[in-house]
């Protein structure tokens, strides 16, 4: 039997994994994946709260919006990464060092 707490624990794990991926990985695609994990953790939270606690549809609607916006954001992100790759021929985040003091 799944309960609210198990959903919350899973989403917390997703969130932390996303953060760790963003900090630890040097590949820009992997960092974008980390962002997706964080957004999905939030979406999971919304649906779980909507189902078990609040009994209204706000959470479901919110999670649909999150899915759409996440897609738009990764589309823009990937477009910029492609441009970066065409110029630098790498997608390693450590190569992005031109803008410094």
């Amino acid at each position: 039997m799944m309960s609210l707490v198990s959903y919350l624990i899973i989403s917390l794990i997703l969130f932390i994994v996303g953060l760790v991926v963003m900090i630890a990985r040097k590949n820009i695609i992997a960092i974008l994946l980390g962002i997706e994990l964080i957004l999905n953790a939030a979406a999971l939270n919304f649906v779980a709260y909507s189902r078990y606690v609040t009994n209204n549809l706000d959470g479901h609607v919110f999670s649909l919006f999150i899915i759409v916006i996440a897609a738009a954001e990764s589309a823009i992100g990937l477009a910029i990464v492609i441009r970066f790759f065409q110029i630098k021929e790498t997608i390693h985040v450590d190569e992005a060092t031109q803008l410094r003091n």
Partner: protein, 488 residues
């Protein structure tokens, strides 16, 4: 039901016009035959329509606070005045983008499209009344900003700026969203009004969850207005992006973020809220750190654009002081500061943009002896620098003085002292640039060319408020005062 929705649309005319403008601009751009045409007509069209938006916003200014679209959006004088600041900022930067060499010719009208899109997001954010519209506004603002910052797509610096913006922006939006999801779980609603009603009764585990989630929630807003721990992206993005984009970023997203921060603060700090101490403490610490980091780092910069970026961080630190006092005069101080800051920033970026187009760099050297090369430009730039530093005859002084007054009135002496020290630091680096312009020796006898009469007229028109509001501040202060009345 349907009639009611259409009736509400009457209050939403400015946004609707902006959306129509954005779509028609897309069509207009696709009908341009010659890729390297200057697109003057498209820019004139954009300016005229934005002028109409401005007029309809001024008409909305007198409306009583009103929740429309099932309480999703608030139309009140506060959000309307913030929108007016944003629209004027957009008009200024669109004009700047037309003459700037930093924007490729074939992207000139795309700049207008993106700018109007960010403006729509900013308007939505400024009048958001629930978490969903807040998130939608924030993301509309952010996603188009990512594109704008990588506008010089053949240069690695601009692409790198866009990439950093995407990564930091995505992270902060995600963290903010995670906070919102827990707030939804605790309050059972995403409406700001409902949350404000429930906040005073919080206790035990719910209070703990809300404390943590509201800090997470703050990350998203704090990132948009680039306050202290989330300011890392600002100098890089501002340096990498083309100058019109930088001046746009320094005005529109910041004003939208400030507007929403004010509104959210009043949600969490309703009468008898257990969060007051921690939220005010958080903002006090963040304001102090933001000012100090921005101003101290600005000293060592060699690029004027980067210096202006750090100084804008310092100004935001100053502006969020208006939130800690939690009353109408604080909001009034923020609004007045916002108006003045918008004009000063626009002028500073105009002149930097023109010189950087001419010499191909924006280091301090291009300002050397400017007073001999183009006296008008040098005098206005020097006055704006004085105003930014907060020296009396100019409006920057009135804005800063007003902010100090409301903070001291509430007996926050510590932060007032920090702010005063920061003003001194700011004075140093602004005066360094002013000194270079006035006492520095120019390399050659050449004059600054290409600053057309239209450019001069616009810059003088923008300069008049900076001068005028420094002496006759009553009308603007009354405007800001009326706009701050929505808060009880």
């Amino acid at each position: 039901m349907i009639d009611q929705l259409f009736g509400f649309l009457g209050y939403y005319i400015p946004e609707v016009i902006c959306i129509v403008l954005m779509t028609t601009l897309l069509v207009a751009e696709s009908s341009v035959k010659d890729e390297h045409a200057p697109r003057t007509k498209i820019h004139v069209y954009t300016q005229i329509v934005l002028g109409i938006v401005l007029i309809s916003l001024f008409q909305n200014l007198g409306e009583k606070p009103l929740h429309i679209f099932h309480n999703a959006v608030t139309i009140d004088p506060f959000s309307t005045l913030m929108k007016i600041i944003m629209v004027v900022g957009t008009m200024g930067t669109v004009f700047l983008s037309h003459s700037s060499k930093d924007i490729y010719t074939n992207l000139k009208s795309e700049f207008s499209i993106m700018a109007v899109g960010v403006l729509i997001g900013g308007m939505l954010l400024a009048s958001a009344n629930n978490m969903l519209t807040f998130y939608l506004g924030l993301e509309t603002l952010s996603i188009l900003s990512y594109v704008m910052s990588s506008f010089k797509r053949d240069e690695s610096t601009s692409t790198e700026a866009g990439m950093k913006y995407v990564l930091y922006g995505g992270l902060s939006a995600g963290v903010s969203l995670f906070g919102i999801s827990h707030l939804y779980g605790v309050f059972g609603s995403i409406q700001f009004g409902e949350i404000a009603r429930q906040v005073p009764g919080l206790e035990g585990i719910n209070l703990a969850i809300v404390l943590v989630s509201s800090v997470l929630f703050f990350v998203g807003v704090g990132y948009k207005i680039s306050v202290f721990p989330f300011h890392m992206w600002t100098p890089d993005v501002y340096q990498g992006a083309p100058i019109p984009v930088t001046s746009f970023f320094a005005i529109v997203p910041k004003m939208a973020g400030l507007a929403t921060l004010v509104r959210v603060s009043f949600v969490f700090l309703s009468e008898g809220s257990p969060l007051t101490v921690s939220w005010v403490g958080l903002i006090l610490v963040i304001a102090a750190m933001t000012m100090t980091v921005g101003n101290v780092t600005a000293i060592g910069q060699t690029s004027v654009k980067r210096m202006l970026a750090f100084s804008s961080i310092g100004h935001v630190g100053m502006m969020i002081l208006g939130i800690v006092v939690m009353n109408e005069s604080g909001v009034q101080a923020i609004l007045f500061y916002g108006i003045v800051y918008m004009f000063m920033t626009l002028i500073a970026f105009y002149i930097t943009s023109h010189l950087s187009d001419m010499y191909g760099t924006d280091s301090y050297d291009v300002f050397r002896g400017l007073v001999y090369k183009h006296p008008l430009m040098a005098i206005i730039m020097a006055s704006v620098l004085f105003s930014l530093a907060g020296i009396p005859p100019f409006s920057g002084f009135v804005a800063k003085f007003n902010m100090f007054a409301v903070v001291i009135e509430k007996k926050h002496y510590g932060i007032a002292i920090v702010a005063a020290f920061n003003s001194v630091i700011a004075l140093y680096y602004y005066m360094k640039l002013a000194k270079t312009m006035i006492f520095g020796q120019a390399d050659g006898e050449e004059k600054v060319l290409g600053f057309t009469p239209l450019n001069q007229a616009v810059i003088i028109a923008l300069f008049i408020p900076v001068l005028f509001l420094g002496v006759f501040w009553d009308s603007a202060m009354a405007l800001a005062g009326n706009a701050s009345l929505f808060i009880k």
